[in-house]
């Protein structure tokens, strides 16, 4: 082979390499360009906020998976409330358990009674002293209510279903279209009979109108409770579904269940005790007036009350409520899916979603914001421990006095102080923010609880004559 030919050959090789290289690059650039074009196209489509009506929804569509066909993004997030994630002072841990016939759950949340045995003393004689676990996400509300051991030690009414299931369509069925009548019928049923007519935990229809997707209140207890509250403020005949603003509704739909309640009378009507106001003393005064008690304390005979997750009441006392920031702003903050803006239906602790929940308003780092919240919670937690100790001391003192045969009026006074001290500490204990919803109010309530326990002990020693007079 001559040199020339060899040169020619290697030159040809180089040329074809260059050729294929250039074609390859051009192909690569075209592919990338098209991919980008499609992506931009998709974003532009998303930005038009498309809504595809795949199925027809009616005012009787309970099943959230049907709604999910029209609203897949919201439904996907809604399904995520099955997660079990801890925060420092709240959230649930997944604990394995061996399923039994009575309770087929293979996973439950950690027992709060084992974490703090003082709770057993506080609730002695009440079903909560048998089984009380950290709350899990919305997805579990129906199962955890159905299978709790509390069902085996006490006969529960159908009233529980109001907030442990998607009850709106059940109300309509029971009441022949009238939800108030359905509500009354449901309350009167035994729990397991009522349980049969519901299938889903809280679902789309409990907060949304099926035609307009607007928020609406479907729980008669809230409709009546907020009407009583507004009446106490001088607004008569308040109709929440007509008079509340859109922003208020973003708190009220959550307030349908996240509040203090009691079962009133033999018909077990679910009543939110707001006729005198939302403060803990207003609520206690309401119960005192009704001469209502949840049970008689097994160790002291005191007519005591069980406070139940008053998140709505406590949030109302805090700076966020004062600033017009509502439940959904932090627990269902806006998020982006591509160019689409939706509210996050994965309802959870804002501490697990700090960027979206807090940083919309607070321009500090995630670590800083978390540290602020946990400072408030640590202080509340420590103060709650002091209040709990004080209460246990009072309970022990009353028990000792009764064991010694005392029946004098000082014991009655001390029992009344126990009722107060216990309701106050339980108000914070059962509230699901460890003080964050209203830090100063939480501290005030715990401080007053400690004071009631102290006064109860003083009464036993002959110092105070009447609790009711003192408490005013």
């Amino acid at each position: 082979m001559s040199e020339e030919k060899q040169n020619e050959k290697s030159g040809g090789k180089r040329r074809s390499l260059l050729f294929f290289g250039l074609v390859g690059l051009a192909v690569g650039a075209t592919v990338l360009g098209l991919a980008l074009l499609v992506n931009i196209f998709q974003r532009k489509q998303e930005a038009r906020n498309p809504f595809f009506r795949v199925v027809e929804l009616t005012d009787d569509t309970v099943d959230p998976s049907v709604w999910g066909k029209n609203f897949p993004l919201q439904y996907d997030d809604y399904l995520k409330t099955t997660d079990q994630v801890r925060t420092r002072y709240g959230g649930s841990e997944a604990e394995p358990r061996t399923p039994t016939q009575a309770d087929p759950r293979s996973i439950v949340a950690q027992s709060r009674l084992e974490e703090d045995p003082r709770l057993k003393t506080m609730w002695a004689g009440y079903a909560f002293s048998k089984d009380f676990r950290e709350e899990r996400g919305h997805a579990y509300m129906l199962d955890d209510q159905t299978f709790t051991e509390r069902q085996q030690v006490a006969k529960q009414p159908g009233t529980c279903i109001n907030c442990h299931a998607s009850a709106y369509v059940a109300y309509k069925q029971l009441g022949g279209g009238d939800i108030i009548k359905g509500f009354e019928a449901l309350n009167k049923m035994p729990y397991f009979e009522a349980r049969k007519i519901v299938t889903h935990p809280v679902a789309c229809i409990d907060c949304h109108d099926s035609q307009t997707m607007q928020l609406r209140v479907t729980r008669p207890a809230f409709i009546e409770g907020i009407r009583a509250l507004k009446a106490s403020q001088g607004i008569q005949n308040y109709d929440v579904n007509k008079q509340a603003t859109r922003q208020e509704m973003r708190a009220f739909v959550c307030g349908q269940c996240h509040d203090e309640y009691h079962f009133s009378g033999p018909e077990k009507r679910l009543v939110y005790p707001w006729a005198k106001g939302l403060l803990v003393e207003n609520i206690l005064a309401f119960y005192d007036e009704q001469k209502f008690k949840d049970w008689e304390h097994a160790q002291t005979g005191a007519p005591v009350l069980k406070a139940q997750h008053p998140e709505f009441e406590m949030w109302n006392q805090g700076i966020h409520a004062r600033s017009g920031v509502v439940c959904a702003d932090c627990h269902m903050p806006y998020k982006r899916e591509g160019a689409l803006k939706i509210s996050d239906h994965h309802v959870r602790s804002p501490l697990l979603n700090i960027n979206r929940a807090c940083q919309t308003c607070h321009k500090w780092s995630e670590d800083e914001l978390k540290a602020r919240v946990e400072t408030i919670q640590l202080r509340t937690h420590n103060l709650r421990n002091l209040a709990m100790d004080a209460l246990i001391d009072l309970i022990n003192d009353i028990k000792a006095a009764r064991d010694a045969g005392r029946t004098d009026s000082a014991v009655v006074t001390a029992q009344d102080f126990q009722r107060r001290a216990q309701f106050y500490v339980d108000f914070i204990e059962s509230e699901n923010s460890t003080g964050f919803h209203a830090p100063q109010e939480a501290a005030r309530i715990l401080g007053e609880s400690i004071n009631f326990s102290r006064k109860g002990q003083v009464a036993l020693r002959g110092g105070i004559q009447s609790a009711s007079e003192q408490a005013k």
Partner: protein, 152 residues
């Protein structure tokens, strides 16, 4: 000779398609709008919608557009910053790898700070002149005047 012609055609078509798709994408994505000072260009991709809405209601709406505060003075510096930010914004928006509540970068904050100081030189000097230590402390204008441009 025939082979040469064929490969020339293939190369031409391939390059032509790449350029064509690129040009179409550029027009479709309103790429040209990013060369302008029009504030609406910044909401092409909707991520800045909150900022844009905030600016529409802010005190600065009448005197400054996005570029006045978020790009440095000087033609070259301005377009270099636009190119840099534009690349990263497109990258994050295309991939979706960003947090919903976006935060300004250190570099972006410095550019904005210089913009405040450029227009409000007199008042800045009046504040910092007699207090040279204030200059060293680098007190940022938006530490107090956060909402003048837009709230978020």
């Amino acid at each position: 000779m025939k082979a040469r012609l064929a490969s020339g055609i293939i190369l031409g078509v391939a390059l032509g398609m790449a350029v064509g798709v690129g040009a179409y994408t550029f027009v479709y994505a309103r790429g040209y709008s990013y060369m302008t000072d029009n504030a609406e260009a910044c909401v092409n991709c909707h991520v800045m919608q909150d900022q844009f809405s905030g600016w529409l209601k802010s005190s600065h709406r009448a005197v400054a557009v996005c570029n006045d505060c978020h790009t440095p003075p000087g033609l070259v510096a301005k377009y270099a910053t636009k190119a840099r930010n534009g690349f990263w914004h497109s990258y994050y928006f295309t991939t979706g790898w960003f947090e919903d509540n976006i935060h300004i970068t250190q570099r972006g904050a410095e550019v904005a700070e210089q913009a405040c100081r450029k227009c409000h030189q007199e008042i800045v000097q009046a504040i910092e002149g007699p207090h040279p230590e204030a200059k060293d402390a680098q007190t940022s204008c938006i530490r107090c005047h956060r909402s003048v441009g837009h709230l978020h």
